[in-house]
């Protein structure tokens, strides 16, 4: 069951959901034989030590899947594989050396947390509260939709709308639990500090929470 569940997410959100079909094509590319760029890294055996960390994961799959799906289609929709996309500059004018892939660190951290930690349903027994919304990827998709018109049809929410939905659904987010909430937002640091609405005085992500970012200061 665990394996099936992880495969479901992997198939849905991996940069190329058709990886099985194209694996034979990948073999013809000039990758070193040990590198399979279209396969998610599996946890290291030593990651089993993370089992002692008990996480309550908010059930937000609808939001997570939408963004991950859009990222998947963006990266692979026209190219068949992530590698082909990268080699051909799939970001279509954004920059040949930058594309959505470099903003996907948070997806890999999310995968590893879910794969390696103990997931609990009772919030009272949780060490931490994981918010599986891909905030950074959501923002990056917005930037890239400048250059990729079809991308605009793939994600249904603006980032502000996403934040507003999250605000309502994080029912265990209180001052006493804020420091144990884990958010994922691996974009440039100037984009952290999302507000629930324009002009709001305080940011949506509590400043005492654990935010996975790409640059601290």
């Amino acid at each position: 069951m665990l394996r099936d569940g992880l495969l479901s997410l992997r198939d849905y959100s991996t940069p190329c959901s058709r990886h099985r079909r194209i694996r034979s094509r990948l073999a013809t590319l000039d990758d070193p034989p040990v590198v399979r760029p279209n396969l998610w890294p599996q946890p290291h055996p030593r990651d089993s030590s993370f089992k002692s960390m008990r996480l309550f994961v908010y059930p937000l799959f609808d939001l997570t899947a939408t963004v991950a799906s859009a990222a998947s289609k963006f990266l692979c929709g026209s190219y068949g594989s992530e590698r082909e996309c990268l080699l051909r500059g799939c970001n279509l004018g954004w920059s040949p050396i930058e594309n959505l892939r470099q903003h996907t660190s948070e997806l890999l951290v999310l995968m590893r947390l879910v794969q390696s930690c103990t997931i609990v349903t009772d919030p009272a027994s949780a060490d931490g509260f994981l918010v599986p919304a891909l905030l950074g990827m959501q923002q990056a998709l917005g930037w890239h939709s400048f250059a990729v018109p079809t991308l605009r049809t793939l994600v249904n929410l603006t980032t502000v709308q996403l934040v507003e939905q999250l605000h309502r659904r994080l029912v265990h987010l209180r001052p006493e639990t804020a420091a144990r909430h884990i958010f994922l937002q691996t974009v440039d640091s100037c984009h952290t500090g999302l507000r629930p609405s324009r002009g709001a005085a305080s940011p949506f992500l509590p400043t005492s929470s654990i935010v996975v970012v790409r640059d601290g200061r």
Partner: protein, 314 residues
């Protein structure tokens, strides 16, 4: 406590859940964040901090170089190039100042400096942009080399260089160049082009409990605490800061030349932690099972923030 498998939570019924998401009219994401994000690349002006997240976990970029192999010469005494740098000169005025300073001092290491505009500036197809860059290069009296034609080519050049310049991008964050440099076994020179008020005495790097960045990173400014303080409320309050930064640029090449003798030891340390800065590690490395990667390191850091003790990543 009830322990359940992850698939029993939000991972369950993936298809059914996704089908339930109703189609919505196309919307343009992120405009609001662009306008309020404070991206600074046209003017030299100080950044004022909005919010501080003291408990944030900094993780690396996921490299665009999917299959970049690790170099084999981590411990070699010298590399052909002293300095390599590829970056767009027009994205930030500080980058042009940096390039000019490097070109002006190039005579101290003739033929060993490869600094120029990058693929992002020249591959844009914008002829006026190219002309502008050429003019900039002429006004700086010379351009060391043609920029690399692709990211892969840039990586190949970096593998032959001792130091790789990693200036800030459009935002004050660390850029992918830092991790590409580590991947190439090239000692990163992290150049912070953004004046901030207040400026933290130390830069935030990924996994400070696992990686001793001072062992291999060369920082500009070298001493952040000694930089002129900025009054962000006054116009022109950052001038003294940027003047000090330019003095650091002018002294950078001699500084790197003096550090070159330490490069093999620094590279050996970098080799020992490089796997913690990559997400897409091969499953096997030289016939041995791979070591833990950046995702494992991130989970380790999160556990630390939660006050939990878990095994240190190998």
């Amino acid at each position: 406590m009830t322990a359940v498998e992850p698939c029993a939570l939000y991972l369950r019924d993936t298809v059914a859940e996704s089908v339930r998401v109703p189609p919505a009219p196309p919307q343009h994401l992120g405009d609001d964040l662009w306008t309020s994000a404070g991206r600074v690349h046209q003017k030299l002006r100080p950044l004022r901090r909005g919010f501080r997240y003291n408990r944030s976990i900094v993780v690396p970029h996921r490299l665009n170089l999917v299959a970049a192999p690790m170099p084999r010469d981590w411990a070699s005494r010298t590399r052909p190039l002293l300095v390599f740098g590829a970056f767009g000169l027009s994205r930030h005025p500080g980058r042009l100042q940096l390039a000019r300073a490097i070109w002006a001092a190039e005579h101290i290491a003739p033929g060993r400096v490869h600094v120029g505009g990058s693929v992002d500036s020249l591959a844009s197809g914008d002829a006026s942009h190219r002309t502008s860059l050429a003019q900039q290069a002429r006004s700086a009296s010379r351009s060391s080399h043609s920029p690399p034609a692709s990211l892969a080519e840039a990586h190949d050049v970096a593998r032959n260089a001792t130091f790789c310049l990693c200036p800030s991008g459009d935002a004050p964050s660390l850029t992918q160049r830092l991790y590409a440099a580590v991947s190439a076994g090239c000692l990163p020179v992290v150049i912070d082009l953004y004046a901030r008020a207040p400026l933290d005495p130390q830069r935030g790097y990924p996994f400070p409990s696992l990686v001793e960045w001072s062992q291999f990173v060369v920082e500009v400014p070298a001493n952040r605490a000694a930089m002129p303080a900025i009054d962000a409320t006054r116009r022109g309050g950052a001038e003294r800061y940027f003047q000090a930064l330019q003095r650091e640029f002018a002294a950078l090449l001699p500084r790197l030349q003096a550090l070159e003798s330490q490069a093999p030891a620094r590279r050996r340390y970098m080799q020992s932690i490089a796997h913690l800065l990559r997400f897409d590690s091969p499953t096997m490395d030289k016939g041995q099972p791979r070591r833990q990667d950046a995702a494992s390191a991130a989970v380790y850091e999160i556990a630390g923030k939660l006050g939990l003790r878990v095994a240190r990543p190998y």
